[in-house]
């Protein structure tokens, strides 16, 4: 996989920037999760945008966000893709994370990248019905969980009375269909997969993002404050290349080329991706979206003192 990625990176780079010395590429290791949100990063790698800025990206896939942020603190990664709640919890604990770029947001109207599914015939349609029931989330205290709790409250339920069970996304459909949980918050492409394979047993009852915070923030790229201060120029180049990747993706919204790119890095079958809802791909991070998020976190038990959000946004994300 690594070999082919380097090869595909080298060819367009040679065409785009013939004057560039191959040895001058700065290696940057980026932690990613194999999800739809990282499409712009892979587009920028494949199209040679990073190579044109003198950067070689080495992606490292982790199964969940859990190993990414500690790896950033330990100096294993220069940049980490992570969900915004995990990032802000780290910031609250005093870790010097700074936003380098936006990654994904919900769209203003359905379909969302998150969906709440229940068994057909269970009679559960609102958060109120979920009180005293078991709801699956991939992790507790992340953006998926937070949006799910907000949905419960929005539809008349008390989030404290819904018990959360941690189930990894790939196992959620089986857990739900098998009656091990009563509801589950899925993220794409697992929504599409669950409805494709368990469509006779499962149904969607809610859109946790567009029903509670339309266009709500979801995930970003972060780096360490000291690294950003010491290597501001490198990160400027990183931001430029990544944002060209964002443009590439946004220009091809709904086109087969984008789905082929995603199928390539995520290995999700193309046929399933055609039924999958994609997020919005923003370049920047705004203080307003972070303030909204922190207010929501405070409301659902993730209380504490968070630093002013404007100071957390590096200049590459102020676009």
């Amino acid at each position: 996989m690594n070999i082919t990625r380097r090869a595909t990176l080298a060819i367009p780079a040679a065409l785009a920037a013939p004057s560039l010395r191959a040895q001058s590429l700065t290696k940057m290791r980026v932690s990613v999760i194999p999800v739809l949100d990282v499409a712009p990063l892979h587009a920028a790698i494949r199209e040679g945008y990073f190579a044109a800025e003198g950067i070689e990206i080495d992606t490292s896939t982790t199964a969940g966000g859990a190993t990414g942020l500690p790896g950033l603190v330990a100096g294993q990664f220069r940049v980490v893709f992570s969900n915004v709640v995990s990032i802000m919890l780290g910031v609250r604990e005093g870790l010097p994370f700074r936003f380098v770029s936006g990654a994904s947001k919900g769209k203003d109207a359905p379909p969302d990248i998150l969906a709440l599914l229940v068994r057909k015939g269970s009679g559960i349609t609102t958060g109120r019905d979920l009180e005293g029931k078991r709801m699956a989330s991939n992790t507790r205290n992340n953006i998926v969980w937070l949006r799910g709790m907000a949905w419960v409250e929005k539809t008349g339920g008390d989030w404290r009375r819904v018990s959360t069970v941690e189930v990894p996304f790939p196992q959620m459909a089986d857990a739900l269909a098998g009656g091990r949980v009563d509801a589950a918050i899925f993220s794409e492409p697992f929504v599409a997969a669950a409805l494709e394979t368990h469509g006779d047993k499962l149904e969607r009852i809610g859109w946790p993002i567009s029903e509670t915070a339309p266009g709500g923030t979801n995930a970003q790229y972060v780096a360490m404050a000291e690294d950003l201060a010491a290597n501001a120029d490198l990160f400027d180049r990183f931001g430029r290349a990544l944002h060209k990747g964002v443009d590439w993706v946004n220009e091809r919204a709904g086109q087969p080329a984008l789905l082929e790119l995603i199928a390539n890095f995520s290995r999700v079958p193309l046929a399933r991706l055609q039924k999958t809802a994609l997020p919005a791909y923003p370049k920047g991070v705004t203080p307003a979206e972070l303030d909204e998020l922190v207010a929501t976190m405070q409301r659902y038990g993730l209380t504490g003192t968070y630093p002013a959000s404007a100071g957390l946004i590096h200049r590459t994300a102020r676009v």
Binding site: M1, P34, T59, A63, A74, F169, D174, R272
Partner: protein
């Protein structure tokens, strides 16, 4: 050609049961594909060269760890058994480290060694170290006293005694420890690869799980089972050759 043994028939029977349970809907889940689809996925990704490359990488890491951990286990085991003061000094530390589950030490190892080969090989070496150490110490205790006494009589020094009398004599025990370690090493290599990095069979397993591609996932599981079996068979053959005298003694 050799006759097909009853064990082979059992494996084939289990495969048939697997196929039937998926085809006839006894287990109704997309995460339970028929074995024929699994084998098709295995062949597909073997032809593209992806799986062979990843298996090769995993095996390289496994054998590096096996070599490092095995050597350390033998050396420390000999020292503990032959020089009692070392056992008194370090015995407690080793015994305290031994029961720690390897997945629990991976996060701190990531902190110190990163996400690439050094971390993964260290994890494997740690796993291999303990069974080899314990068996080596046991082996030294089983060396016949007369053999060592005769060495002394002939004026052979302690270093050469350890290398040419004690070590060969306890080799059967060392190899038994290595055989246990071999199975563990494969498991731990895959676990380490699943946690981070983009290398090896373990990472392939995670990516396919996230992509919702059950046939590829099970293809990996089948492949690992076959690999583990083949490694064990190869080891037994080598063991028979290396210590044929032990078997010749009828033990």
């Amino acid at each position: 050609m050799r006759r097909i043994t009853s064990g082979t028939w059992l494996v084939l029977g289990l495969f048939a049961l697997w196929e039937a349970s998926a085809r006839l809907g006894w287990v109704d889940s997309p995460n339970w594909p028929p074995v024929t689809e699994v084998v098709a996925a295995l062949i597909r990704d073997s032809i593209t060269g992806e799986l062979p490359l990843r298996v090769g990488g995993s095996l390289w890491r496994m054998f590096s760890g096996l070599l490092a951990g095995g050597l350390a286990g033998v050396v420390v085991g000999l020292a503990f058994a032959l020089v009692p003061v070392t056992a008194r000094l370090f015995g407690v530390v080793v015994e305290a480290l031994r029961p720690i589950p390897v997945p629990a030490v991976i996060p701190p190892l990531v902190l110190f060694l990163g996400l690439d080969d050094p971390m993964k090989i260290t994890v494997v070496a740690l796993t291999v170290f303990f069974p080899v150490l314990t068996n080596t110490m046991q082996g030294v205790r089983a060396v016949e006293v007369e053999a060592i006494a005769m060495g002394r009589t002939f004026g052979i020094g302690p270093w050469r005694r350890a290398a040419f009398i004690v070590l060969p004599a306890c080799l059967p025990y060392v190899l038994a420890g290595l055989r246990v370690a071999l199975g563990l090493a494969l498991v731990v290599t895959v676990v380490a690869e699943m946690i981070a990095g983009e290398q090896g069979v373990g990472n392939y397993l995670v990516v396919m799980q996230f992509a919702g591609r059950a046939p590829e996932m099970y293809a990996t599981v089948l492949l690992l089972a076959a690999l583990g079996y083949a490694l064990n068979r190869a080891f037994v053959t080598l063991e028979k050759r290396a210590i044929h005298w032990w078997f010749a003694m009828g033990r």
